[in-house]
């Protein structure tokens, strides 16, 4: 498949230091991941609340089979996927918020599940905004958060992709949490 080998090439280029390769890679797998995420978060399938890693792993396996992607590219693929996953999930949350507001459903709801759902969406959107702000001062921490939170990667995998020490990953993660929490808390109603 042409699409598959293109993915391989872009992964290699990105690993070789070509940053723009990442941006070109994203559209290629966006649809796949979007559909996957959609299935995974569909309420009717509680079995599918599988972790992001398992999910992305499945995508990777399918792509890798066709493209004969070098196994070493796995971590890098995860890294890309986590960025895509962030986009997909926050886009979905924004879309739901728009829909609700459009439908006049902003009025207070007493349904607990609905309140929780709304909180989740608002948190996710606030997180997305906060990550954008953080990116301006410290892009690497944003990467770490994406890979860990959206991509479900381990500290070791993240360290490998970013070619930093595991300890640095841990520090970045811990500080990013503090920073993001402070940003977001102002955005959300107390509950």
């Amino acid at each position: 498949m042409g699409g598959q080998s293109e993915i391989t090439q872009l992964l290699r280029a990105w690993r070789g230091g070509e940053e723009s390769a990442l941006e070109r890679l994203i559209p290629l797998i966006y649809d796949d991941l979007r559909q996957l995420a959609r299935r995974a978060i569909s309420r009717e399938r509680p079995d599918l609340t599988i972790q992001a890693t398992a999910l992305v792993n499945e995508v990777f396996l399918r792509l890798a089979e066709g493209a004969k992607v070098d196994w070493k590219d796995r971590s890098h693929f995860f890294a890309v996927s986590s960025k895509v996953m962030r986009r997909i999930l926050t886009d979905a949350a924004r879309a739901r918020r728009r829909e609700k507001r459009g439908g006049g459903a902003e009025a207070a709801s007493l349904d607990e599940a609905e309140i929780a759902a709304e909180q989740s969406d608002r948190s996710l959107i606030a997180l997305d905004d906060a990550l954008d702000s953080l990116f301006k001062s410290d892009p690497r921490k944003v990467r770490v958060v994406e890979m860990r939170f959206f991509g479900g990667m381990t500290q070791d995998e993240i360290a490998e992709v970013l070619t930093i020490s595991r300890d640095t990953v841990k520090r970045d993660w811990n500080f990013a949490k503090l920073w993001l929490a402070r940003e977001i808390r102002g955005e959300l109603p107390l509950y």
């Binding site: 796949d32 995974a40 009717e44 599988i50 999910l55 996710l124 939170f149 503090l178 402070r182």
Partner: protein
């Protein structure tokens, strides 16, 4: 942000996070150069808990919560095509189903299924259009017709179907409390309906209980297959980019999906894939759950599920059927398993053929499906026990397959009247040597049973062909003996086995050997086999508590040995067998209460083995175990007859030492037993601490053995006995709490089968007596009396071993003035 002198805000925050909260202000005061930095740090730290909470679980779970309200489907009242939605009937993996009303051109109610977003509606419509003509040709009372299809304004596909107000076939059957017969009756029209569709060129591809609805129609129950044509239209094939969603689309149906359909990129699907799914539904109707259980992705991966679907052979439905197992066993099992064959070539060639077989079952005719072949059983067995036996599975599978092959091959050879030494070699290797190897595999009690049944079948066939061929007769005699030994004697198998069954096989071997020995008295192979068989026979008489038969067998063995030609005696290790004869006879006499005679015989047995174990057997676990057994029996009879004395203690110590370096289970069991005896004798000789330490070793060894092979009742039993002794002695030593704890462990042991010497009832008695004794030692006199009052009156060896200890224990303790105190 003002630059800090040394530490950045980040450094300070991270450092502070490592500290517990009360220590933080002090730390901050110490390191923050100015107030601005401190405020910055404090404002960041204030969010620590919230940050953890926010980012703790993966984003997807987070998003799942947000999407909780997604995909609920349109509200009743909405108009879709010519239909108006009335109410939601249910939701499935693929979509939401409504009751809907059509006004024109006809007024009717239909089931309207709206597919979830995520499917390409255009593609679905195109596929459906392609099948539409074929679908229109279907006309069957048990198929719900698909009437119409289209796309909603929101780009979602929908299908209108004949409305069936019924329940999934499994739920219906359970709620109506249907019998096995009635369930089979319900399945037949379903198979016929699928057959009808197949004849019109349509596969269902998604047969599962929720797609077979059963409705009551007066007194009759009518089943309808729904969703024909929908699975195909909504399938997302691998080649068009949406590949991996497939894994999730098919989730709900994994449990009913054929291996070839579950395969990624599955294209070559035919009617036999539907046959498999029918088999899976039948299986669930009979067994209460689908063949491989409910397959879900929780905690596993698509690849792992795929592997299970492809490889894991389900147990017959009767194995899971509970109360109805007896009705399901046999034909129903076979029919379900034939439909569920992994290789479609082996399934029913059509749904119609399956329907006919079910019909045959109902009318009591022989069914086309047969019991699973031996090869199949070997494979299944290997699969089922993989977790337990690892590499052993492979050789058992090979072994059983080879037995079947050999039986056939040998018969052909013999018909052609050819004497093929190579084939006999195979018999020997497979039937004689393998069981011996098997005895060395841990956790083999269950395994051995399966293996033996197959070996017996093969041997029976061979035995009929043996006339006139002494070489083959010898191999077969060896094989019968090997089976008998693996089946019965506790020493060879490490399990209590089935001495009565074993005796039957050994008798067959003895007949063959006796005839052979008459014809060739100087053939060492024949004579050794004969001695082995006779001594095994003798052992089995002891196991069967047959004192007279045992004495006769002992005398016969002595006679045969005495009659051996002089030059054969050494070649066949005649002294070993003579010693064995004395040993077994001694045990039989001991059991009959003749302790003095038993002691004499055990001394004689050891003296006969003046040179110890023959050099050729120095590494043979069975022989080492046998020697350990002899030493221990000598120790017991000496101790019982003369009290603790150097002969008894030395024999017990030898009994431990001789198997000290052998790790085979049979050796380890003998070592544990020997340590039990040694510990008792050490205690009796006044060496209390040493005795208790040795007994603890013994208990620990038995526990380890039990863990490795939990089905082996001998380990529980013999271990329980030693544990009981240890409890008695601990009680005497004043450690009452531990004694009671140990003794009460025994009360929880499995009872085991009521066979041979080790009767479950006796065991329970022994355990209760020791428990009672432990209570007695603790001063709980009334509790002890209550425990022991219910004890059945003890009669056998065990009782004789225990009663004196109990009496001694009771005597050594003054009766407490008030009961119940500890």
């Amino acid at each position: 942000m003002a630059p800090a002198p040394r530490l950045t805000v980040e450094d300070i925050c991270l450092e502070a996070l490592e500290l517990d909260e009360p220590s933080r202000p002090g730390y901050l005061a110490h390191v923050c150069g100015d107030d601005a930095i401190r405020r910055e740090v404090e404002s960041l730290l204030a969010g620590a808990a919230f940050g953890d909470q926010l980012l703790e679980s993966p984003a997807l779970l987070f998003a799942a919560a947000g999407a909780a309200d997604d995909d609920a489907g349109p509200c009743p009242g909405t108009e879709i095509g010519p239909y108006r939605l009335l109410e939601k009937l249910g939701e499935g993996g693929m979509g939401v189903v409504y009751r809907a009303r059509q006004e024109k051109p006809v007024r009717r109610e239909v089931a309207l299924k709206i597919i979830r977003p995520g499917w390409d509606a255009g593609l679905v419509a195109a596929r459906f259009a392609a099948e539409r003509q074929a679908l229109a040709l279907m006309e069957h009372a048990n198929i719900a017709r698909v009437l119409d299809a289209g796309t909603t304004a929101g780009e979602r596909s929908w299908f209108a179907m004949e409305l069936v107000e019924g329940k999934p076939i499994t739920a219906y059957s359970d709620e109506a409390g249907l019998t096995v017969r009635q369930r089979v009756e319900l399945m037949i029209p379903v198979c016929q309906a699928i057959q009808h569709a197949h004849q019109k060129g349509i596969l269902h591809r998604d047969i599962k209980p929720s797609n077979i609805l059963v409705a009551r129609d007066g007194d009759a129950a009518i089943s309808k297959v729904i969703d024909f044509g929908i699975a195909k239209a909504t399938e997302q094939p691998l080649h068009d980019g949406a590949t991996f969603t497939r894994a999730f689309d098919i989730l709900g149906t994994f449990a009913y999906m054929s291996p070839e359909q579950a395969e990624p990129g599955a294209r070559d699907i035919d009617v036999r894939s539907d046959v498999y799914s029918l088999g899976a539904v039948l299986y669930e109707l009979l067994a209460g759950a689908p063949p491989l259980g409910t397959l879900s992705l929780r905690g596993t991966t698509y690849a792992a599920i795929l592997k299970r679907i492809e490889e894991e052979v389900p147990p017959p439905p009767s194995a899971c059927a509970g109360a109805t197992a007896a009705q399901v066993r046999g034909e129903c099992d076979w029919i379900a398993l034939k439909a569920l064959e992994k290789d479609r070539e082996r399934r029913y060639e059509s749904a119609g053929a399956m329907a006919r077989d079910l019909q045959r079952y109902l009318s009591g005719e022989p069914v086309e499906a047969g019991p699973p072949s031996k090869l199949y059983r070997a494979r299944k067995f290997a699969g089922r026990h993989q977790w337990a036996i690892g590499g052993a599975a492979a050789f058992v599978a090979v072994l059983i397959a080879a037995l079947v092959w050999m039986t056939i091959a040998l018969r052909q050879q013999m018909r052609a009247n050819r004497d093929d030494a190579a084939l006999r070699e195979v018999v020997r290797k497979i039937i004689v040597e393998r069981p011996a190897q098997l005895a060395q595999v841990p956790n083999r009690t269950a395994l051995r049973g399966e293996l033996m049944r197959d070996a017996e079948g093969a041997l029976d066939v061979l035995s009929r062909e043996v006339r006139g061929d002494d070489a083959l007769a010898l191999e077969i005699a060896n094989a019968w003996l090997a089976i008998g030994m693996a089946r019965g004697p506790y020493s060879a198998a490490g399990s209590e086995g089935d001495p009565a069954a074993a005796a039957k096989y050994v008798a067959k071997a003895i007949d063959l050997y006796t005839g052979l020995a008459r014809r060739s008295p100087e053939n060492p192979a024949v004579r050794r086999g004969q001695l082995e068989a006779l001594s095994t026979w003798l052992h089995l008489q002891y196991r069967l508590s047959a004192v007279e038969a045992g004495k006769q067998a002992g005398a016969q063995l002595e006679r045969v040995i005495a009659g051996l030609p002089a030059d054969v005696r050494d070649k066949v290790q005649a002294n070993w067998y003579l010693s064995t004869a004395y040993l077994e006879l001694g045990v039989i006499l001991w059991n009959g209460g003749e302790v003095k005679e038993a002691l004499d015989l055990h001394r004689k047995a050891l003296a006969t083995l003046a040179g110890g174990i023959p050099a050729e057997w120095a590494q043979d676990p069975e022989r080492l175990a046998q020697l350990s057994h002899l030493q221990r029996e000598l120790a017991i009879s000496s101790w019982m007859y003369e009290g603790a004395n150097p002969e008894a203690e030395s024999a017990a110590r030898h009994s431990v030492d001789v198997v000290a370096n052998c790790s085979a289970p049979v050796c380890r069991m003998r070592r544990a037993e020997a340590a039990g005896t040694l510990g008792e004798i050490e205690w009796a000789a006044g060496n209390h601490d040493q005795g208790i330490a040795t007994l603890r070793h013994s208990v620990a060894d038995f526990e380890a053995l039990s863990q490795e092979d939990p089905a082996n009742a001998v380990y529980h039993y013999a271990g329980g006995l030693v544990r009981g002794y240890l409890a008695l002695l601990l009680g005497k030593a004043g450690a009452s709490a531990e004694a009671i704890a140990l003794a009460s462990e025994n009360l929880r042991l499995p009872r085991g089968p009521d066979a041979g010497l080790n009767k479950g009832r006796e065991r329970a008695m022994v355990y209760r007596v020791t428990f009672g004794a432990a209570l007695l030692d603790a001063g709980r006199f009334d509790d002890a009396v209550r425990e022991m009052r219910d004890t059945p009156s003890p009669q056998q060896r065990l009782e004789r071993q225990l009663r004196p200890a109990l009496v001694r224990t009771a005597r050594s303790r003054p009766r407490p003035r008030s009961a119940g105190q500890i």
